[in-house]
Every structure is written in structure tokens, then in C-alpha cells.
Symmetry: C2
Subunit: 442 residues, 2 copies
Amino acid sequence: MADAPQKIQPRTLKGFRDILPELAIPRERLVVQACEVYRSFGFVPIDTPALEYLEILAGKGSDETDKQMYRFQDGGGRDVGMRFDLTIPFARFCAQHIGELGTPFKRYHIAHIWRAEKPQRGRYREFMQCDFDTIGTESLSSDVETLLVIHDLLLRLGFEGFRVRINNRKVLSGYLEEKGLRDRSVPVLRALDKLDKIGEEKVIAELEREAGMQTGDAQDFLRLTSVSGAPEEVLGEVANLMGDSALGQRGVEELRTVLTAARDAGVPDSRVALDLSIARGLDYYTGTIYETLLDDLPSIGSVCSGGRYDNLAELYTKQRLPGVGASLGLDRLLAAMEELKLLEARTSTASVLVPFFESERLGDYLAVCARLRREGIDVEFYPEPKKLGAQLKYADRRGFPLALIIGNDEWEQGQCQLKVLESGETVSVSLEGLASAIRDRL
Amino acid sequence: MADAPQKIQPRTLKGFRDILPELAIPRERLVVQACEVYRSFGFVPIDTPALEYLEILAGKGSDETDKQMYRFQDGGGRDVGMRFDLTIPFARFCAQHIGELGTPFKRYHIAHIWRAEKPQRGRYREFMQCDFDTIGTESLSSDVETLLVIHDLLLRLGFEGFRVRINNRKVLSGYLEEKGLRDRSVPVLRALDKLDKIGEEKVIAELEREAGMQTGDAQDFLRLTSVSGAPEEVLGEVANLMGDSALGQRGVEELRTVLTAARDAGVPDSRVALDLSIARGLDYYTGTIYETLLDDLPSIGSVCSGGRYDNLAELYTKQRLPGVGASLGLDRLLAAMEELKLLEARTSTASVLVPFFESERLGDYLAVCARLRREGIDVEFYPEPKKLGAQLKYADRRGFPLALIIGNDEWEQGQCQLKVLESGETVSVSLEGLASAIRDRL
């Protein structure tokens, strides 16, 4: 006998993973729900290619994203890269199309990105990003709306306990300006961004070392960022700390406008917090900034973050495009839902399994299933006339709520047995009244 | 004055494109509708990485797909490729996970694939694929179901006039077996697959040249494939032509079973055609095969094609995995809808635009919008208090059906002006009764 040909080992690349139904089903639901929320505010979808000219991507993020980018030469000798975020492709997109699209332009983009990060538990080299932005306006109305979208997103995805923390870069910059440290804002903000992770002492050390701050100034600065209490009081106190800095005072006013309008629009105070310590390490934010923590799992970090920027696409066009937006961490949210046991174990998409056992009745079974589908009930038909036990075991394993059993006796009487799988309860139902009997049990 | 830094030319790679809202909106709708249909039959979603080890992909499609594959060495020195279809990753996926998932396993997968094809009008190097398969069963029930899914998909996506053409590889192979030409099935099927494109005469020439057929046999073969008429008659005639070939007779029986059960399940005869000329060039189909043509645009080719195969994942596992499935050509359908003028020109996702003109009323406007959203109405708020004319022009350009105008007088009276943009008709509505007034006009 000849040797069987050698099998190729089936495996995914390091840092990559398959998404099995138990994760793909809730992920698909989250995507659909997120789209519904975006659309309810008039955001429109777009898509851009996974591959871009390298010159579009390289040197546009950080040193880190540059290093982590998948890049190669294509068959035509072009240097190309796989996108590592959705912001840079969006900037390129706007530079090309904004004339045709007009402003304001509100888009969302849900797509995969790739980063060759060092693989860690829960971190992958391919993940789904879910961004939304409003481009071409400086109106604070869009800053408020960004907060409303984040709020509605979290609610729609099934979270009740969460808090959107907001800050304004102008407050931080104004304070530094007031202290004559304006030119050191980059290292200052980078240090501040680590506060949650490394603690006050180390941040002060970094402020001294990297931003050349005096110890006293560094401590004062951290005091500013830790002012807390009811928003009105915090804003008053912070306004005092801003002194003569016009920039800082403007930041305070912007925060006040955003907080007031969000409250008017129905966002409960418990879900918004003014937090002067959040900085969002990236340098390009210039106004409102957002982070979102889950009450039950703050350790997972921010699940929706973003901010306002002055000019999105300056590398690609002379047209100035201010905007504001945020990014929903879909994979992080899914991981949180898994940890919080919010994901159903069910891996069926249909609610009803119809076992197949009278093999000469194939057309009849399929006709019943088709009729139920037309009534809006999702039905899976088991493809083989196996023993009933094996088919019900399949239904149990996938977590079907109901099974619909029709044998020859039932076919002759126009009846069927509707079985609730969790309780084992079985009722006899006429084929006519089937749809409503099923709906009553879902 | 210093020179402004040189701008990078914003452009996409040759053969790639951005998806603007006018296309992204209907594409998103098609994807959601397709998912609903798949789920209504109990198919479950999965996802696999865009990148695979090169050895998983290379040499698994055709010479052409090998040549068109984007491949490179990653930072860790691994040879990797970007997937060029969803079938090979699915085979690899099943080899890895089917033990855990169990059979039958019904999955759908909607994802991008990449092929460095020669760019042509309407052909891109990145496109969205939309596959569904039932794995781990040889039951013809799944062949019928595949036909039902194709039928429901097209209906759900808004097509009334279409026809699923079905054939069975066993009929073609049985006939060749009967004629002593079984070993030449590959070149024969390849030639047959070109019938629509190059015509009878050239196919006969190719059958002679590539498959070594006698002219008479080639003509007989084409006669078989052109038998037409009511399914029962065609099947009878074809059964005769099969002679003693057990394989051929089994093919006829399978076609009969599929056609009969599909009719029982409610698929109208007008939407299914037995067509012995379809071959689906690929070699791996072994039973039922499917193609789908749009009545109004047959020239665009098949929009949903597939078939039954004996063993999905033999390159990666010893476990035999028979199955049946098909692939929905989402981008081709979108192009068809564009050509048939089935796409709305509208590029807004919300139904109502709320112009902003009393700037001190920001919170009030946002509160009205939030209330409407809670009632299920999608509302976009214009972010800047510009002149009404400019805001209504924006609404017109995006194709909003309605605008909701609230000025200071209206605020004071608890009223608003609801404007139907196409007709220009404006009615005065109380803020209380707003949601139903809007619903009446959508």
C-alpha cells in the first residue's frame, strides 16, 4: 500500500486565532448593535482597503506602530503595509474624498487591523476596530454627541454600570502654559497617561526626568489632575488653578458646555465623570478627551476612548479638517463580557431544532421549517434521519431552546411534539398553531 | 516663510478602492440580511485570520490563485500569505476544531479576500466573500437546504426574478464513464464550463484537443448537456442516456430528490432549472452543483454558486469531511443592483435631520433627538448653528426624507415644523406627538 500523503499541520500563525461560533455569535451581535447606534445618530459606514501604500502608513503612528506593521513588497514591486489602525486610512480617505462627500461628515468604520505585537494573554495580532468620527466641524455639539454615542453604545450592548470619564486637553495645556512649561506637554502627557499603571510617585519621577519639571511643579500638576467632586465644584476649582491662561479657561468652559448639554440630553450624572487625570497618551488630541470604564471590571481598562483633534489629514491635504471621535474596543468588550459571564453558552443561531426521522418525509419536514421561517422563527433541520436521542443530544449541546418532534403518527394527525429542552416539558401542538406555540416559549 | 512640508499623495493601491457611503450603506444592509437568512436555517458565524502560514494556502487553489496570492515573510521570518478564498481557511479550521465543534457543522463566513488579479472594470484585488457550508454529512437533505438558502437569500436581498440552475457531477461523470472517458473528466468539465462564454463550436474543438474526444462523442456530450424541458421529462431522457452507469443513475436520482423536496418546501418551479450544462470548473465537486442567474441581468454571471464535495480537509486531517455549500457574490450583486438602479441614492442613515439654529438651546435640541431615538427613530442633529438654508441643502444632498425645524418661537410654544423634503410640504406638530407624526411620514 502506498503511503498516504503527508498531512499539513493545521494551525494559525502565532498571535492569530480563529473565532469560533461561541465568540463569533456575540461578536456579530455587538457589531449589529453598534451599527444601529451609529446610524441612529446619522453616522454612515465606510470601508478602506486592508493594504495601503507604505508611505501612507509609515511614520504616521508611533515608533511602536511602525515596528509592528506588517509590510512587504507586492508582486508589482510596490512597498505596501497592512493598516494598523483606522485613523490613518481615514485621514487618507478624507484627503481624497471629502470634497465630494462634503462636511460635516460623520462616519463609522468597523474593520480588522493588524499589529505584530508581542502576543500576550488576550492580545492578538489581528483584531476588530470600531471607530466613529465627526469631521469638518469645531462645534462642541459634536463633542457632546460623541459622549451621547458612547453612552448609547454601552447601554445598547447590554452594560448598565459604566462611566465615561472626560477631560479637556486645553485644561492640561493651559496649566502648563501658565507654569511656562507649554513646550514640554508631550512628555508631561505621556507620564500622566501612566498614572493608573505606575502610581503617583513614579509619575512624579518621570515628570522630573523626562519633562524637566521641578518636584514642586510636578506635585502641583498631579494635584490639579486629582481634583475631584461634583462637576460644578471641580470646574470652579480648576478655573482658579488656570489663572490667566486663556487656553485653560477655554478648556474649563468647553468641559462645562459638554457636561451641561449631556445632562440636558438625558445622560445620568452617575455615568459621566470629570477626570482631569486622563490624558490619552497620543499627541494629536487638542480638546475634549474620553475614556470609558466598566463599573464591574475597571481593570480591563477603557473600552471606548477618543477625543477632539484640530486637523485630521494634514499629512495628505492642505484642507483643514478638525474633528472628534472615539473607538470602541470590541474585542476588549467581548473579553469583559466573557469574564463577567454575560455571554450565552448557546452556539445555535436558530431557536428550534427539527429532528429528521421519517426519511420519506423530507419534503414535508422542509415545508414545515419553511413555513416557520416565513413567520419569523429561526429553525434548524437536522440533516440525517438518525436516532432521536442523537439528534436531541446535538440540540442540547448547541443550546437550542426548543425541539419540534414530528414522527409518522404526528404527520398523520397533523400534530407535533414541542419539547422545551431545558425543562424536558413536552406539549402536543397542532401544526396549524405551531408558530404561536413556539413564540410563547421563547 | 518656511516651505510647508510636502504632502503625501492620498491614493489607494492599484486594484483597490475605498467604499464610500453610497456603496457601504447598501453593502452593510446586504450583509445583515444575508446573516439573517443564514441564521434562520441555523448556520453559525465563524471567522479566521486574514494571514495564514504559506504552506496552508500555497498549492491549494489553482496555479492562478497561487500566482495571485499576496505573500511575504513576516517579522519573525515566517512565510505567510493573505487568504485568497474562504474555503481553504475553512478546511484548515475544520481540521483543527471539528472534534470540539462536532458534526453536522453549518457555518457562514463573511470576510474579505485578496487576489492580485489584473485590475479590470468592476474587478478589484480586495473583495468580500460570503460563504456558507454544511459539513460532516452526505445527506441530500443538505443539498436541498443549500438550494433553499440560495432561494431565500436572493428573495431577502430584494430580487424576485432569478433562477437557480442545478446539475449533478455524477451525471456528467457517469456519462463519461459510460463512454470510457472517465479519466478525462477534468479537461471535459473545464471545456464545458466555457460553453456560455465561447459557444458550442469552440467547446467541441477544446473537447477534441484537450480531452482527446472523438468529434461524434463531443457532439453527443453537448447534446446531453443541452437536454431541456420540464424537469421530469429531462430526468427521464437523461436517465436513458446514462445507460448502465450506476454513477450516472445515482446522479439522476439525486437530482430528482433535490428538485422534488425543493418544490415541496415551497420553491416555485420558475425559480429552479435543471441545467446539465453547468459544470463549475473546479475539480472538487462530486454531487449537486448550483449557479444562480438574475433574470434581468444574466450577463453578470452567477451571483451564488457552489456544490457538494466528498472531503473538505483531506490536506490537513485524516478525518473525512463531506459537505455542501455555496458562495454569495456580494460585490457582484451590488454591481448588479447598481446597474439595475435598485440602490437608493440616499447617503444618510438617519431619517430625520434636525437643524440647529438657536445656539443657546443645544441641550434642548439634543434632548428632543434623544427622545426620538428612544422611540426608535434615527435622527441626525446638524452640529453648527448655520443658516437654515445651508442646513436644508445638506439634508437634500444626503437624501434625508424629513427635517424637523425648531426655532425660538417653536421652542416657546412646544411646537415644531416637520418638513417633507421631497415635496416641501411642512406641517406644524406638537413636540409631544412628534414620534407618531414622523412615523406616519416614513
